[in-house]
């Protein structure tokens, strides 16, 4: 399951309740029979429902009509009115609090309220919040006017006693805090996934709202522990700033503690490194032959691996090991176990407690790397692989060696601990929280206009400096550009401006063609046809173009553009995607960012869905036909005659499969020139393929953040 799936299920608290209702009523057999795109789909009916059925408001079963089910079902308690719940009168259990604590809370003039989840289940995020509350207690112990409280979200729920771990403070209902305290300064720490619902409830509840608006100094910190769970910037930021303008985002991972995040939300950002637990240290000899496995769900669409398949394979490889999946375990029991197992494997975020805690205690953990949660120093860690098949191979290779060599085991563990210590330590966390309480931030928001990569800035640059004429708001909301070379092209705005910049300014797709040779251009990922039209205009010896654009609405515009810009060389538009397989599947796309559409969209979903400055439009579904690149090119090669092939490929991830297919079929021998934009991983494989096929290759890193390269390959002697 991807983070974007979780976000689909829980877009907000009210959305979660609605979607849980739908999921509880899910009937796989009925769903597969009712919707013709489900049978034969690579996803199970349930996953299909999560990924496509929920956004498309499909019904989950015969007896449940989604259309008649309200978009949001918010319990009545959240509606406008004063709090009258019994919890307003007292904490959950007065005996749980010491008299001294209650006195300090009531008399506090500077109050820090950490909101934790009112559930008895245990999660890393809850532990993290509890540890911050504990650290806040430590940091404020010498301040007589300061107090720390832990309250619960959702706000209408009764506080809970955590049974799986010992919290630093009992949970106090927010209504109790509102009724019994009157501090000058209040700072609320709200977990990201509840932030939207929290503000909704606060604004709707007059008692809470009035109490907060009366505070002379009110600060709100959104605890961003998992960026895919953050609410969209708008309207969230507009609503939270109705209460106070002192709002900031804390980040649990340095990876997303960025100026870009600050600017997207218009809020300051401060790193708040999670506190790691104190673990007893045990070396190889004091550990058991146990493989600890996280309870997360794995559904790796690339390899087809699930957590069950992974565990089965490891069990077969290591029959002497006991495999323990962590479920419903008390924290102390879990930490003790983590300090006694030889190996741990996480299916979750990667850089999570199931990975970290065994390492902290001297153990060895395995995970698949991702650049959302892992700090960069783990990219080449000895127990971290880039994908699941590679990780399984790595485990099967390393575990026997580590079992046989205790010294090597301890050395690997030490290395992992060293890498952890670069990002995590109690002192770092203490400094982060202390700094936050003193008002320090890492990144202030800036005007989006100051972001050089902003599309609007590119548009202005192209218009002011390069002679482009943009005509937007034409009948039917059409947007048209007149390029300096005379092309008239309809487009969708947004990222199209960066496409123009790449083509006309950076000259990414310029080809070094032999003037005496005629060419057929294959444009894979043609979008609205801009590159095809530009290259045909520029190189008169391109005699024919095959342009591939699988998104039907985009291809429709491309066809109009081809008709509008008549030239001698024909452009054949094909509305299919190229890869290394046959498939008809449904994908998501964003109409304002069609250039980022990918049939390998697992990388893009959460990123695109996470919004740019609050302007992201809702995703739509589209059915796409995928065909093997080699079969498609075979027809072109057949009619090539004396002409040669030039390939331009920009497909957001499928390029690796495409070039594998062309390599295997031997068709690269008909190709003289290649320009390919690679995404999401280093282009080593493509460079190797092209080099082996006799090309001279140049690669340029365009975006380190998104791992985008432009690779140009030409036959020796022709490279400029």
């Amino acid at each position: 399951m991807r983070p974007s799936d979780i976000r689909r299920i829980a877009p907000s608290l009210s959305g979660l309740w609605r979607n849980l209702n739908l999921l509880l009523n899910f009937d796989a057999r009925w769903y597969a029979a009712a919707y013709q795109d489900v049978p034969g789909h690579r996803l199970s009916p349930l996953m299909h429902f999560v990924r496509y059925g929920l956004p498309e408001r499909r019904s989950p079963s015969a007896w449940f009509n989604t259309a008649k089910f309200p978009e949001t079902t918010v319990p009545r308690k959240f509606s406008e009115g004063h709090t009258t719940a019994r919890s307003a009168l007292a904490p959950l259990d007065v005996k749980a609090y010491s008299i001294n604590y209650l006195r300090k809370l009531h008399a506090s003039d500077d109050l820090l309220v950490f909101f934790n989840v009112t559930t008895k289940e245990l999660s890393g995020g809850m532990l993290s919040i509890d540890r911050f509350a504990n650290l806040a207690l430590e940091l404020t112990q010498d301040q007589p006017d300061a107090a720390v409280a832990v309250s619960g979200v959702p706000l209408d729920r009764e506080p809970v006693h955590y049974s799986l771990f010992e919290p630093c403070l009992p949970m106090t209902h927010f209504a109790y805090i509102v009724k019994n305290t009157s501090p000058t300064r209040v700072r609320l720490f709200v977990p990201e996934v509840f932030a939207d619902a929290f503000i909704t409830m606060i604004l709707a509840n007059a008692t809470y709202r009035h109490w907060l608006k009366e505070r002379p100094r009110l600060g709100i910190v959104i605890l961003n522990q998992n960026i895919s769970l953050m609410p969209a910037p708008q309207p969230f930021v507009s609503r939270v700033t109705e209460l106070t303008m002192d709002v900031m985002i804390s980040t649990a991972h340095p990876r997303y503690c960025t100026g870009r995040l600050a600017t997207e939300y218009g809020l300051p950002v401060k790193q708040l490194t999670p506190l790691l637990p104190d673990m007893p240290h045990r070396s190889w000899v004091n550990r058991k032959s146990v493989f600890m496995v996280s309870p997360d769900v794995l559904n790796d669409t690339q390899s087809g691996l699930t957590q069950d398949l992974v565990v089965e394979r490891l069990k077969a490889a290591f029959p002497e090991f006991e495999f323990v999946v962590i479920t419903k375990m008390k924290l102390q029991h879990y930490l003790d176990l983590a300090s006694r197992v030889r190996f741990a494997l996480t299916f979750g975020e990667g850089m999570d407690g199931y990975f970290i805690e065994p390492v902290l205690s001297g153990g060895v953990s395995f995970a698949v790397y991702n650049d959302v949660f892992f700090p960069p120093q783990f990219k080449d860690a000895p127990t971290v692989a880039t994908n699941w098949p590679e990780l399984l191979d790595l485990i099967e290779q390393m575990v026997p060696r580590l079992q046989a060599d205790p010294e090597l085991y301890d050395r690997i563990s030490c290395e992992l601990q060293d890498r952890l210590a670069r990002t995590y330590s109690r002192e770092i966390s203490k400094s982060d929280l202390g700094g936050l309480l003193e008002g320090r931030v890492d990144h202030q928001p800036t005007a989006k206009a100051r972001q050089p990569e902003l599309f609007e800035n590119l548009r202005i640059f192209l218009e002011a400096e390069r002679g482009f004429r943009f005509h937007n708001g034409l009948p039917g909301d059409k947007q048209v550009v007149v390029a300096p070379d005379g092309l008239i092209v309809q487009h969708f705005g947004s990222e199209f401006y960066s496409v123009l910049y790449e083509i006309y300014e950076r000259r990414d797709y310029d080809l070094n063609l032999d003037a005496d040779t005629d060419y057929v251009l294959v444009d894979i990922g043609a979008n609205v046809g801009m590159a095809s039209l530009y290259l045909r205009n520029k190189y008169r010896n391109i005699r024919e173009i095959y342009a591939y654009e699988p998104l039907i609405p985009v291809a429709r515009v491309a066809r109009e553009n081809i008709v509008a810009n008549v030239a001698e060389a024909p452009i054949h538009l094909k509305q299919v995607a190229l890869s290394d397989r046959f498939e008809i599947a449904t994908f998501q796309y964003f109409s304002d960012w069609t250039t980022a559409f990918s049939i390998d969209s697992r990388f893009l979903d959460s990123w695109l869905g996470s919004d740019e400055g609050g302007s992201r439009v809702a995703s739509r579904s589209v059915e796409v036909e995928i065909v093997p690149a080699d079969l498609e090119l075979a027809e072109i090669v057949q009619n090539l005659g004396t002409r040669r092939l030039a390939i331009k490929c920009d497909t957001q991830g499928s390029e690796f499969a495409i070039f594998d297919a062309l390599d295997a079929s031997g068709q690269l021998s008909f190709v003289d020139v290649v320009v390919v934009e690679t995404h999401f991983k280093r282009p080593d494989a493509i460079i190797e393929t092209l080099t082996r096929n006799g090309f001279v290759v140049q690669a340029r890193l365009d975006s380190e953040e998104n791992c985008v390269y432009t690779v140009k390959a030409e036959r020796p002697g022709s490279l400029v």
Partner: protein, 285 residues
């Protein structure tokens, strides 16, 4: 009168006394605070004010003129400009135009300090657009998204600060001398407040604001006004208290918050102002 050696500031203060009490204690506090940063010359657009209320000012103001002209605050600034004389005024490093629509809640130290650090010719605490209803955004982003010459964008005239070069320019001289009696406040705002802002942009005069963002509507009169004081604005407009233009849903609670954030010396003045200006008859304590 100024306690700061540099820069040398001239502050033209436009006042109007609506009641029979004359110059209010709140005005006295504001003028006294302004006098810490420059020479304050006041013009009250009244036929007369009680001598006793003038005496409250003590030596805070360098001069006070009471004369009715009916040309609103811009008229008072024009008459001060004409009476003090161009040569006299151009001898100062900075010229401040302000008025008694402001209720002081904090020291102006931060405002003047911010200003003194900035090189721009023109400064105002904020840029507003009464027609803007979108999410708060940076001024640069607003300028990219909208044509400010066709919008209701302007620098709030409750506090304008001009550097000497701008004061000496024909642009400013023509502007200040062309002020005339107009029909109503709306016309004053459109013709002079918005008009001069647009002139600054047309002439390419460098400008800056204390607050870098554009808030929806005119935040000086919305509930945002109570939060802007925490962003560094040392004043609140009386018309925010009286909810003259926008309804403020939780104004009583914002009042209480304001009393907690204001400088203690101004607390009783604010309480009195709230009692006087809260026309909604709320039971504020």
């Amino acid at each position: 009168m100024s306690t700061l050696a540099s820069p040398k500031r001239l502050i033209l203060f436009a006042g109007y006394c609506a009641g029979s009490d004359g110059i209010s204690p709140q005005d006295v506090a504001l003028i006294t605070e302004l006098a810490r940063f420059g020479d304050v010359h006041c013009w009250y657009d009244n036929t007369s004010v009680p001598i006793g209320s003038l005496a409250r000012l003590g030596r805070a103001a360098t001069s006070v003129t009471v004369q009715r002209h009916g040309e609103y605050d811009f008229g008072s600034w024009k008459y001060l400009y004409l009476s003090l004389g161009r040569d006299f005024i151009e001898g100062y490093d900075e010229l401040v135009l302000t008025n008694n629509s402001l209720l002081i809640v904090d020291s102006f130290e931060r405002l003047f300090h911010f200003r003194s650090e900035r090189p721009e010719e023109f400064f105002s605490p904020l840029l507003v657009d009464e027609d803007f209803a979108g999410p708060t955004c940076f001024i640069e982003d607003y300028e990219l998204a909208f044509d400010k010459f066709t919008r209701s964008a302007m620098y709030v005239s409750a506090f304008w600060n001009l550097r000497r070069n701008l004061v000496r320019s024909s642009l400013f001289r023509n502007f200040i001398c062309s002020i005339q009696k107009v029909q109503d406040r709306i016309e004053v705002s459109h013709r002079y407040e918005r008009g001069f802002s647009r002139s600054l942009w047309r002439h390419g005069i460098s400008t800056c604001t204390l607050l870098p963002r554009v808030y929806r509507f005119v935040p000086l009169y919305t509930e945002d006004a109570f939060m802007l004081t925490q962003q560094g604005l040392p004043f609140i407009k009386y018309k925010a208290l009286s909810q003259e233009y926008y309804r403020c849903q939780d104004i009583v609670h914002r009042y209480r918050s304001l009393l907690g954030t204001c400088q203690p010396a101004y607390r009783s003045l604010i309480q009195n102002a709230i009692t006087k200006h809260d026309h909604m008859g709320r039971s504020f304590r």
